[in-house]
């Protein structure tokens, strides 16, 4: 008699469907990713605020730090995170009061979150660079 309780070796199936999310799903996961980035960036923001308000030389030093290419990239990444998080958040507030909850409208507003936050990031980033 075969052993019915024995575990057969089954092939693993990796669920890759998150890679193919609809646009509102992408807004959602990037809302989370940008939120975590902002949490991590909080300390850098406080450091710069502290330095820039401490003294004339501290203010100059903060400017100096911000002029390095690495800092500029980090600032641009933070601006993207802030803009995406804010746009997605505003969209969320509208969904909460039942504005734009139809499938079509929700997809369009999700798309708009990407367009607005990326366009603003590029325009600010170009000026900063």
């Amino acid at each position: 008699m075969p052993d019915l309780t024995a575990k057969k070796k089954r092939p693993l199936w990796y669920n890759l469907s998150p890679l193919n999310l609809p646009v509102p799903g992408l807004v959602s996961i990037f809302h989370r990713i940008s939120g975590v980035l902002l949490f991590l960036g909080l300390v850098a923001f406080l450091y710069l605020l502290d330095l820039s308000l401490a003294s004339q030389s501290g203010y100059a030093q903060a400017g100096e730090v911000l002029r390095t290419p690495i800092a500029k990239l980090l600032v641009i990444a933070s601006i993207w995170a802030l803009l995406h998080h804010m746009c997605a958040g505003i969209r969320h507030l509208f969904l909460d009061i039942d504005v734009g909850t139809s499938l079509h409208a929700a997809r369009r507003s999700a798309f708009a979150v990407f367009v607005v936050s990326l366009a603003l990031t590029v325009s600010i980033g170009v000026r900063l660079w």
């Binding site: 902002l38 909080l42 406080l46 203010y59 958040g89 909460d96």
Partner: protein, 112 residues
Amino acid sequence: MNRIIVGAHYGLRDWLAQRVTALVMIAYTVMFLVVWPRPMSYASWKALFAQDWMRFATLLLVVSALLHAWIGMRNVWMDYVHHTGMRLTLEIATILWLVGCGGWALQILWRV
């Protein structure tokens, strides 16, 4: 069927807190874009933050950001870290980190 719904009952409170703090931060952003000094210099930057209303507004921003970050980070830990001890450690570390940031912010604002 008579079901008794149980839970920690912080869902609605946190849901509301996340939205109220978001609105405070949006309002601060709009306000900041209006008042930030042009041209920027140490003197004008310092003068901006030396005003009492600006200090108060920035304090509201900081408190909102810390509360907002706590609720968000706690949700992230709850979703991905299933080992209770590990999750508790990360949650405590997050709280201590955020409270520390709040203390630093107070010091920055009231030293100007």
